[in-house]
Amino acid sequence: MIDFGKYSLLFSLILSIFVFLGLIYGIRRKDARFIDMSYRATKGIFVFMTFACFFLIYAFIMDDFRIEYVASYSEKALPIFYKITGLWAGQKGSLLFWGWLLSLFTFITVQRDEHKVNSLFLPYTLVFLNLTSMFFLVLVNFVTPPFEMMTMFPADGNGLNPLLQNPGMVFHPPALYLGYVGFTVPFAFAMAALVMEDLGEWWIKKTRTWTLFSWVFLTLGIIFGGWWAYMELGWGGVWGWDPVENSSFMPWLTATAFLHSVIIQEKRRMLKIWNVSLILLTFSLSIFGTFITRSGIISSVHAFGQSPVGFVFLGFLILVLAAGIYLIWTRYEKLKEQNPRIEAFLSRESSFLYNNIILVGICFATFWGTIFPLISEAVKGVKISVGPPFFNTINAPLFLLLILLMGVCPLLGWRKTSPKGILKNFLLPFSLTALTLPVLYISGIKSFMPVFFFSFSVFAITTLLREFYLGTSAGVKKNEKGWLSSFWTLVRRNRRKYGGFVIHAGMVFIVLGLAGYGYFQYKEDFVLSKGQEVTIKNYRLKYTDLTTRKKWNYEGVGSVIEVYNSGKFRGTLRPEKRFYKKREREPTTEVAILTGMVEDLYLILGAWNSDGSITLTVVINPLISWIWVGTGVVMFGTIWAVLPRRRREEEAGLLEKDIILHLKGVEVE
């Protein structure tokens, strides 16, 4: 079995070399036979990579501890779920999984277009996809071989790190990888467009679904990471601006910018160079993230096993950037002239531009803060690190502006908006927002930033609802149908637009959750003896007992806490410390949470004494659940936006859009 795995990887590498040579020769000689051969070989890579993954999972299930990777991340007593997901529990398996995803996505890209007449771009695109695949295949064959054997065969494995034995952690890496790998496809298309010197809208239309798909998985991956940190790490928060977190956040920012700016190119044929630059940046940042997390060059609380892999990624990153910049540089003059200009400062396209500036600004600030210890060490000879206050000071106001833009954008028309139109459109949302200010003040929120966060959120949500209302009422007038059916027609015929609005609403919820817990988190430590009660805000907590329980691979010591809210019994929480059999000397914290839409009550058992007294940390996190709700909304919106629509709907949708634009007093192109 082990040899099968090894040879599958080797075959894949050989095939990818064939693909590369075949493509280059085929493109040069304009010989379709060689290109067809490459397409077939690409599918072969996918098949062999699938074999390799299957063999590794099989080794996990069979407890084959001869394989070093299996022995490091599994044990006999590990539940089968964690054995299967052991495929991506560590670095070697993760890179194999990454390579497999890439081979799958390459397969799909080829399958979709190989028989179409108009697929001149495919060989070029495949060159870039294949080069990336080759990089990963070299890694899994020579640098981090997942099927490497041990010299001594242990009877049982090391076991999976207890902190990773949590569903949030199981889905966090693959979601991130899906996002990272997914962006390889638009990247390859963009590079192909550059090589072909044709930066029209075709590559954006081709990759629209890929882009959204990758974006939503990147989003999910980041949120899963935060959710895991919240549930498992026991410090009461979801985000700490650690370099490892930042490294997944940076590509998300440029990807979000890309998602918006391609719309401008589709509608107005602008920003062509900017778009290829953004996708190049997104792809590079995901490689950069892997480099800083795996090389250990920047100190982080995530202690990844340090290995030379990081520097291999650095080499790859330099190659990617050099090739990308070279291509953009040599095509720049030719493409520049095709760009129409933005006509007014207050128009929908300019609001997209501001959105891009802000997102790239946040990305730059995050990048700066992440690498600053390196810079200061090089320049001043001493490491200066920047903590969360740095990132919050810069990024909070920028995020605030984003929320504001989210509200403003739908109120602006394409090209130009007349001042009269602006005033008319702004009146209602603006007055509603103004109304929230006294409400916020009375409810006790008086500091500067939170007030802005909450009132801008109201503004954004109001304009979003207004969009749905206007669209529906236009439908009612035109078709003389009921509100419900008009609404349904509207959102079904303009999936992308209204899906996008739903995503915006989800993002507002997420930001609300972040602001809620970020600005109003309450934390206090208590020492309690058995039977003692404490009151925190409107909660009354009673510590009744300290109990032990045994599970399949750990023992847990937990304190039983009765929770009363405003006099009413709300339930019993049992925060505990777990002692995993493989790691008895390192207890892990298992927090207990009473979840609510208004706030979470979050209990951490710190320590206990022989007399039964305990140290209990009580955290109250307002609005934090809205982060998870918002994520669900974002997912729903994305699915809605990418669902394919029928041609009839498409035509009808176009018509409808004109009517809506007309009703808004915007001139139609």
Binding site: N161, T393, E586
Partner: protein
């Protein structure tokens, strides 16, 4: 076109200025020296009073936690250097996970109290031995 270019240059400058100001504010708020234990002692003159981050390995057996007083005491030394200077740390709050694991390194954020010769930590970040991947802890 002239006027347009002036507007563009002007707005770009404005955005850059606003952004630089934010970065400046952020650096003032959030930047701290990140030092090894021995570096802290070498630089006590310049960093002795402000907030710093100190990275070090916990001296085995030095961890002491008093439940009643919610007080945690331990000693840090340079990682993998046996004869490095020792730094006594005090932290008010419950101990983070994995503290007593051998070879654990930790980042303490706080300031050094010259009179009491003790480092008063406000925040602790535990890093785990690198043989395991992806561990994290914060208190």
């Amino acid at each position: 076109m002239k006027g347009r270019q002036v507007t563009i240059v002007f707005s770009v400058l404005l955005i850059l200025a606003a952004f630089s100001y934010l970065v400046f504010l952020g650096m003032k708020e959030g930047s701290m020296y990140y030092l090894e234990v021995s570096e802290l002692f070498e630089r006590l003159d310049e960093t002795g009073h402000g907030k710093v981050r100190v990275n070090g390995e916990i001296v085995p057996g030095s961890v002491n936690y008093e439940t009643g007083a919610l007080t945690l005491n331990f000693t840090l030394k340079d990682k993998d250097v046996e004869d490095s200077p020792r730094l006594n740390v005090i932290y008010i709050g419950p101990p983070p996970d994995m503290l007593e694991q051998e070879g654990v390194t930790l980042v303490a954020e706080g300031s050094y109290n010259m009179e009491k010769e003790i480092f008063e930590a406000k925040k602790l970040l535990v890093k785990c031995p690198s043989k395991y991947e992806k561990k994290e802890g914060e208190a």
